[in-house]
C-alpha cells in the first residue's frame, strides 16, 4: 500500500524567449530556490532529486543532470533523470512522487527545465530519421492534419482555435511568470494572424521559451509536521502507445482516454466535469483544448468545441482550463508538463495569485508528448485522499 505524497513547495522561473541573463544552471536554480523558499526548507533538507527535460539536443548538453549535480548541491545524493518526450515534465513529477509513495525518500525535489534559446527547437525536432515517418517542419506540421481531422469530425467552426488562444493569452496576463503578456487580443485580431500550418494560425501556436519549474514533495509523515499549505497527490497515471499504425485513432488517442480513466478511477472521480475545479492541460496548439476536453472524459465526443464557445473553460466558467495561460503562453518544453502539474498544485494550495480560481479543491495536471502517444496526469487536492 502506497504512502501519501504532498506538494509543499512550488517554484518557477520567469519564462522568456531568451533568458540571456542566466546559464542553464542558473535557470534551473532560479526555479529550485523559489520552490525551496516556498516550502521553507533548504537544499540540504532534500533527500533526492528527480529531473526531467526534453531532448538534450535542444541545448547541446548530453545528459545535463550530470553536470547540473554541482549547481544542485547534489553531491552524495541520488539524482535521477527522466525523459519521456513532451510529457516529460509530467512523468518526471510522477516518478518523483513515486519515490515518496514507495517510502524510499521523505523529501524529494523535482525539476523540469528547457533553455530553448540555446538551440533551435523546431529544427532540433525535425531531424529526418531513416525509414521513419518524417515530422516535417516542427510539431505544428505534425499536428495540423490531426486538428483538421477533429474539425471535419466534430463540425467545429473555424474560430474555436482562436477563441482558446485569446483566452489563454488573456489569462497569462494574470500570471507574472508567463512568457507572453499580450493583453490586447480580440477574436477579430486573432483571426487575422497568419496561417502557419493550416488550420493552425500564428496565435494558436505555443512560443519557444526558456524556463524551469521545481516542486518539493514530502511524505505524509513530514508533510503533517510541515507548516504551510499543501497539495495532496490523489492519483497519478501514465500511458503510452506507438506513434503510427494503420487505423490508429490520432484525434482522441486510446492511450489518453485510458490514462484519464485510470486517473478518475484511482482518484474516486465519478463525474470529472463536476468534481474537478481547475484543469491545467497541455495545449501547445489551441485546438487541442477541445480535443483533450473530449479525450479526458470532460465533454462528450465532438462537443468539446461547444464548451469553448460557451465560455465553460474561461476563468469564470464552470471548468476553468489553463488559468495560468498554459503552454500557449509559455513553452519551455521539458518544463511545460511540470508547469501544468505545478500550476494545478498552486490552485489547490491557494497560491495562484491573480489567476487563482476561488475555492479550488481538486485540480488536474496533464501532459502529452511524441505524436500524441505519451500521456501523464495527476490529480491533486487541498485535502488528503
Amino acid at each position: 500500500m502506497a504512502e501519501l505524497c504532498a506538494v509543499v513547495g512550488v517554484g518557477q522561473t520567469k519564462h522568456a524567449a531568451c533568458r540571456a541573463d542566466v546559464s542553464i544552471a542558473g535557470l534551473v536554480r532560479e526555479a529550485v530556490d523559489r520552490a525551496l523558499a516556498d516550502a521553507n526548507i533548504t537544499i540540504a533538507d532534500v533527500d533526492a532529486i528527480v529531473i526531467g527535460k526534453a531532448p538534450d539536443s535542444l541545448e547541446g548538453v548530453a545528459m545535463p543532470e550530470l553536470w547540473l549535480a554541482d549547481a544542485l548541491a547534489a553531491h552524495g545524493k541520488p539524482v535521477f533523470r527522466v525523459h519521456t518526450a513532451g510529457s516529460v515534465g509530467g512523468s518526471t513529477a510522477i516518478v518523483a512522487a513515486q519515490h515518496v509513495m514507495a517510502g524510499i525518500h521523505g523529501t524529494v525535489l523535482t525539476i523540469g527545465f528547457e533553455k530553448q534559446s540555446d538551440g533551435n527547437a523546431m529544427w532540433a525536432l525535425s531531424v529526418p530519421i531513416p525509414f521513419g515517418m518524417p515530422v516535417h517542419a516542427g510539431a505544428g506540421g505534425y499536428f495540423s492534419p490531426i486538428v483538421r481531422g477533429y474539425i471535419a469530425r466534430s463540425g467545429a467552426p473555424k474560430h474555436i482555435g482562436a477563441m482558446v488562444a485569446v483566452k489563454d493569452r488573456t489569462n497569462a496576463c494574470k500570471n507574472p511568470y508567463a512568457h507572453l503578456h499580450e493583453p490586447d487580443w480580440t477574436l477579430e485580431k486573432a483571426l487575422e494572424t497568419p496561417m502557419l500550418w493550416d488550420p493552425i494560425r500564428f496565435i494558436e501556436t505555443c512560443p519557444s521559451s526558456d524556463g524551469a519549474m521545481a516542486l518539493v514533495l514530502m511524505s505524509e509523515e513530514r508533510a503533517d509536521k510541515h507548516a504551510g499549505r499543501k497539495a495532496w497527490v490523489h492519483a497519478t497515471s501514465m500511458r503510452s502507445e506507438p506513434t503510427a499504425f494503420a487505423g490508429r485513432e490520432q484525434v482522441s488517442p486510446v492511450a489518453g482516454e485510458m490514462c484519464a480513466a485510470d486517473l478518475w478511477r484511482k482518484g474516486g472521480i465519478k463525474n470529472p466535469a463536476e468534481e474537478i475545479d481547475v484543469v491545467e492541460m497541455y495545449v501547445p496548439f489551441a485546438w487541442f483544448e477541445p480535443m483533450w476536453l473530449e479525450n479526458l472524459g470532460f465533454a462528450p465526443r465532438n462537443e468539446g468545441w461547444r464548451w469553448v464557445e460557451d465560455g465553460i473553460t474561461e476563468m469564470g466558467g464552470s471548468l476553468p482550463v489553463n488559468p495560468s495561460g498554459g503552454v500557449l503562453s509559455s513553452n519551455p518544453i521539458g518544463a511545460s508538463g511540470m508547469l501544468r502539474f505545478g500550476e494545478a498544485a498552486m490552485q489547490v494550495m491557494g497560491k495562484a495569485g491573480e489567476h487563482q480560481i476561488d475555492g479550488a479543491k481538486k485540480a488536474i495536471g496533464h501532459a502529452y508528448g511524441g505524436g500524441s502517444q505519451f500521456f501523464a496526469m495527476w490529480l491533486v487536492s487541498s485535502t488528503k485522499p
Binding site: S57, M63, P64, A69, H75
Partner: protein
C-alpha cells in the same frame, strides 16, 4: 513502510557486435521476445515497462520513441524512459513496484555505441560553458583520473594490467563478450600507451548491444523463476562533476551507494562492476569494501563489451544469472554514469 520483496526473474542479452546495421527496434525486438519466452509470460502480464538509452548516441531527438514499437505498446501500456543506462531504468521499475501499483516490470536498454565517436559524444556530458568546448574526450578524462591514482599510489600499472588480463580471460567463457584474450600481465604491460597512462586494454571495448530483464514481486517472482535474484538493497548517488572539485583517487558516491545497499553486511560472492577503465575497477573495489574472496566480473565486464547505456543493465543480467545458476548466493551489480565514475548505482541481490 516495509519494502516489498522484488527479484530479477529472467534476463536476455544480445551478443555484442560492432558497426551494427540494425535499427534499435530490430535489435530490441528479438531480445524482448526471447526474454518473455524464457520467463514464460506474455506482454499483457507486464505492468510497467522502462527503457534506458541516450539520444546523443543515435544523433536524433526522441530516439527512444521508436522502441515502443519493439515492445508492442498496443493496447496502450504503462511505460517510462530514462536518458541513462538501463540500470537506472531498473531502479525506476523497482520504485514503481514498491508503490504497489504493479507487480511485474520489464526493463530494457540499448546502445549502438559504434555508430558515432563515443569518446567525443560522452564528453558532451561535461560543463557546456567551460569544459565541453575544449572537447576533452572521455578517455582523456579517465586518463587524468588514472594518472592521479598512480601518482597518489592508490593503484599501480601492474594492478591495472591484472584487471585487464583477468577480464579478457574470463571473457573466453562469455558468449556475449567481444574482446577476448589470454595475455599475461607482463605481455599487457609491454603494450604501448594509447593515452598515457592508459593502454588499449585499460579501456572498455565499445560495442553495440541491448538487453532486458524482468522484475517481479513476492510470490509472483517465486512462480516465474526457480531461484529468483532478490534485490536486498539498491541505491544510487552522484558526485560533483567539476574537474578539480572532488578527489579523483576515490569514489565517494560509490562508497555511499554501497553502504546504503548493504554491501558490507555479508560476504559478496560475485560482483559485476561497470568499470569502463581498469583503474576504475580498482577504485570501485576499494570504495565498496570488496574483499579478495569476491569474484569480480566473471563475465569479463565492461572492459570486454561496453554497450553504452546498456552496460550497467548487463551487469544486473550477469549477476542475476549467477544466482539463477546457483553458482553464487549473494551478488553485487553496479552501474556508473558520467565522466570519471561520477554517478554510481549499487545493488545487492541474493538467492533464497
Amino acid at each position: 513502510m516495509a519494502l516489498r520483496d522484488i527479484a530479477i526473474v529472467g534476463t536476455a542479452q544480445r551478443p555484442s557486435e560492432v558497426n551494427s546495421t540494425f535499427t534499435s527496434v530490430e535489435i530490441l525486438l528479438p531480445v524482448i521476445q526471447q526474454l518473455l519466452d524464457k520467463v514464460g509470460i506474455e506482454r499483457s502480464d507486464i505492468g510497467f515497462w522502462c527503457h534506458g538509452s541516450c539520444d546523443y548516441m543515435s544523433g536524433q531527438p526522441f530516439s527512444f520513441v521508436s522502441a515502443v514499437d519493439a515492445i508492442g505498446a498496443w493496447p496502450p501500456i504503462v511505460e517510462s524512459h530514462v536518458e541513462a543506462d538501463g540500470a537506472l531504468a531498473l531502479y525506476e521499475a523497482w520504485v514503481k513496484i514498491q508503490t504497489g501499483e504493479v507487480d511485474v516490470a520489464l526493463v530494457f536498454s540499448n546502445g549502438k555505441t559504434t555508430s558515432g565517436p563515443i569518446d567525443q559524444i560522452l564528453s558532451l556530458q561535461t560543463d557546456p560553458y567551460m569544459v565541453a568546448p575544449l572537447k576533452p574526450g572521455f578517455d582523456a578524462l579517465a586518463a587524468l583520473q588514472a594518472r592521479a591514482c598512480l601518482d597518489a599510489g592508490v593503484v599501480t600499472e601492474r594492478q591495472m594490467a591484472e584487471v585487464a588480463s583477468r577480464s579478457r580471460r574470463d571473457a573466453n567463457n562469455n558468449a556475449i563478450a567481444f574482446t577476448k584474450g589470454n595475455e599475461s600481465v607482463e605481455e599487457l604491460l609491454a603494450m604501448p600507451y594509447t593515452m598515457n597512462p592508459l593502454r588499449a586494454h585499460d579501456c572498455a571495448t565499445p560495442v553495440d548491444g541491448c538487453n532486458a530483464v524482468v522484475l517481479a514481486a513476492g510470490d509472483i517472482a517465486r512462480r516465474l523463476a526457480t531461484r529468483p535474484a532478490w534485490i536486498r538493497g539498491i541505491d544510487h548517488r552522484i558526485d560533483t562533476q567539476r574537474l578539480g572539485a572532488r578527489s579523483m583517487t576515490e569514489s565517494s558516491s560509490a562508497a555511499i551507494a554501497a553502504q546504503k545497499a548493504g554491501v558490507g553486511k555479508d560476504r559478496i560472492d560475485v560482483a559485476e562492476l561497470h568499470a569502463p577503465y581498469t583503474h576504475q575497477e580498482l577504485l570501485l573495489r576499494k570504495a565498496m569494501g570488496l574483499s579478495e574472496s569476491t569474484h569480480i566480473n566473471p563475465s569479463g565486464g565492461a572492459l570486454v563489451a561496453n554497450p553504452a547505456m546498456a552496460a550497467g543493465l548487463a551487469r544486473f543480467a550477469e549477476a542475476a544469472e549467477s544466482i539463477f545458476a546457483g553458482s553464487a548466493d549473494r551478488v553485487l551489480a553496479h552501474c556508473t554514469s558520467g565522466p570519471m565514475l561520477q554517478q554510481n548505482l549499487v545493488c545487492v541481490m541474493e538467492g533464497e
